[in-house]
Symmetry: C2
Subunit: 496 residues, 2 copies
Amino acid sequence: MNLEVKFREYVKKIKAYVYVLQLAGWDSNTEAPRNSFKRRGEVLNFISKELFLLQTNPELINIVNELYGKIDDLDDLLQREVKKAKRAIDKIINVPQEEYLAYQKLINDSQLIWEDAKKNNDYNSFKGNLKKIVEYNKKFALYYDKEANPYDTLLDDYEEGMSMKEYDTFFNALKKDLVPFVKEVLAAKKENYSEFINNSFDVKKQEQFCDYLTDVLHFDRNSGLMKKSVHPFTWNTSPEDVRFTTKYLENYVFSSIFAAVHELGHALYEQQISTEFDDTLLNGGTSMGIHESQSRFYENIVGRSNEFWLAHLPKFKKIFPEQTKNINAKDMYKAVNQAEASLIRIEADELTYPLHIMLRYDVERMLINDNVSVDDLPKIWNDKIEEYLGIRPTNDSEGVLQDVHWSGGMIGYFPTYALGTAYSAQIYNTMQKELDIPKLIKENNIIKINEWLKEKLHKYGSSKTPKELLLMITGEKFNPKYYIDYLKDKYTKLFL
Amino acid sequence: MNLEVKFREYVKKIKAYVYVLQLAGWDSNTEAPRNSFKRRGEVLNFISKELFLLQTNPELINIVNELYGKIDDLDDLLQREVKKAKRAIDKIINVPQEEYLAYQKLINDSQLIWEDAKKNNDYNSFKGNLKKIVEYNKKFALYYDKEANPYDTLLDDYEEGMSMKEYDTFFNALKKDLVPFVKEVLAAKKENYSEFINNSFDVKKQEQFCDYLTDVLHFDRNSGLMKKSVHPFTWNTSPEDVRFTTKYLENYVFSSIFAAVHELGHALYEQQISTEFDDTLLNGGTSMGIHESQSRFYENIVGRSNEFWLAHLPKFKKIFPEQTKNINAKDMYKAVNQAEASLIRIEADELTYPLHIMLRYDVERMLINDNVSVDDLPKIWNDKIEEYLGIRPTNDSEGVLQDVHWSGGMIGYFPTYALGTAYSAQIYNTMQKELDIPKLIKENNIIKINEWLKEKLHKYGSSKTPKELLLMITGEKFNPKYYIDYLKDKYTKLFL
């Protein structure tokens, strides 16, 4: 089958370019010296352009279209791969090259402008770029499908098959059930359980504890590594090369611990994908939402459980005897679940986190549908956060300017954070029917959980859509009820 | 000038591919997880092939030949660049592609075979590959110039303009003057001055001292970084991204110190090259020999001087108070210059080091000129080292198998180590007429030395040949006398 061989060759080439760009990205984000960025940008630009030419090569497009024309004759995996290739091509093919390049330049330039705006608390210096980014995103979405609502198209970019209709249902359920519950918890909670955590914790020792957790979670060090960076992230080229970073703050030890456990969730997913997908388009996790379900599962459901601290507080106390002198596992459990109204998403606790996402979804939905002007965003943002959490930013740096995503052109990405967290509760509900999770965590037997996730989810890589996976695993479609129930149950027991 | 524009475009493309391959190399040699190497090899192979196709593109070859045809009309820098390009093309153009690829595969495979052979002390398992590597090297040299002696061609690969004639003169001078002197020093020396160095030195603290030295030598941390690796090396893509590694042994602190200072010599050279060469073929140090002259200068002439330890022993004692209780600068000076007959090149001291290189030159010269069979190498090796240093390996791992170079196809490389060290003495002789080096070292004013080297040597990058540079700096051709005099003077004062 000549067509298939040619397709495979293109995929191989494309993946080689992606590979070296990924390597460069890892380097940039972890250790590249600052003066290297100018030249690096020029070189990588050239390589990116070669990749773009390859991805939009007319011969490749013909091959994909021909294969797509007889999709039912192909075996299952190739079907899925061709569909993915077709979707990627369709998303880009109608975009005029000069617009594509202008947009690339725009989002490149916007990074620094956003950084400065955030630093200087100066929304006005960024809003011009944001306007253009919103316009380009709408325009590109309409090039792909002029009939569809552009926000639906953008949402689908980040979570295949998701649209406003489903997200509305989800977020409306949160609004109805979770917002009042959060207010109730925040009103009831009187003590600060995490005061001792703001003491000084030696960074080298934090590293030692994160190393320990890396082994607790059975991360394979022959197929990856842990490093530090300013913003924690996970990176991978194949299941045999999966790396993650964490971030150390001397006066907030939870930062390194939960960033590590969160990224370990992403990393375990990637390490447990079948290597049969290495040379295909089906490698890597299947979607942002499913990926986030894994990171949030390990971070919150495992890492913020009572059993986890029953198992690992002794080690923590051994490394930090002074700071934890009078602390027991119950204290630790309360400390790691300390809930409070706060302004910054990435510092939010498990309970209030989804409200931060809800707000961003509301804002993006309005922006793309012209129901609001970029000029008015700061006020809208502040009003919304006050509505959901009862507090109000005093400046835009802790409001509308706080996240990097929009400056990077990522509109439609945020909702996957809450969605993934909700997926994790639904998957957890199924898992509990087959495994005694609290017991496994308490007995430091997390490998059993890893194995379950590998068989049910991880190993499939991108060969299943998020919706197919969720249905296969849990026997039902996405249902936000599990998430709301999980949060209510956990926080009622903790603080009500 | 359309031809020149096209040439520039090719150079830019080629350099982009080289850049990403370099980044991948840095990653491989410092932190890539072991399971990543299989897939990495496949991907990088593909990128290397793209690069090879670019470098041997008939259009590029025509452009270079056309430019070469009117070389006198070009400006000086372009002349040098075109000559370099022409030379690179000529070295490869007559090699049949299948032989080129077979050779690449051979040297790839030979790495692991050599590693295992060295580990298992089993020369027989490696010698088949070595035979083939020698044959290919001869063959490729003859493709380039069928009239020339192939070893001359190989020597020129690593040090432009050098041939057996000049190396013979150099090594004969060493044989005549240095071998007897070394024997005299070794016979006279009775004490072991470096015993205290074999105590335990905490690796984290060694890192702290190497960090200190990095600042002492005025390495620009915004344009580079220090890291650790199994084999110390320097890596660079431009003066704005220069990285080096060192290696830590708990029971041998000199290993990290002198590897760091050596690599810092390479790194300072690269950082001080003019950025005007970034997008040309004239970036980077001009040759292996000149590069080694810089690393050896900082390592030996600066780092192993009495003044260096007058300046920096206090810091060393502060970090390691216990281990250095009764040590003064004079003790340290003797310890870092401890000379003894030893079997392993990379562990050899400044005095005996060139004899290790001489031996390798003798062996390569014979191998390429069919004066010896690969089968007989172990015996020849052992006889030679006994002749020069009076000791004999008890196994091939500490004899003929010790170095990685030949398994990587590098024949003709070794002599540049001794040549570069000799260059450094000749350059030092000139430098002393303009600067009071011992005073500058003692006053921790090394930046003045850096500045001198930048103006006289570093800034030129590859825009001058090694011979041009040496003549410009010292006013004369290469003369081994300076090196022999330097060693005799230093070691007479130290131990005779």
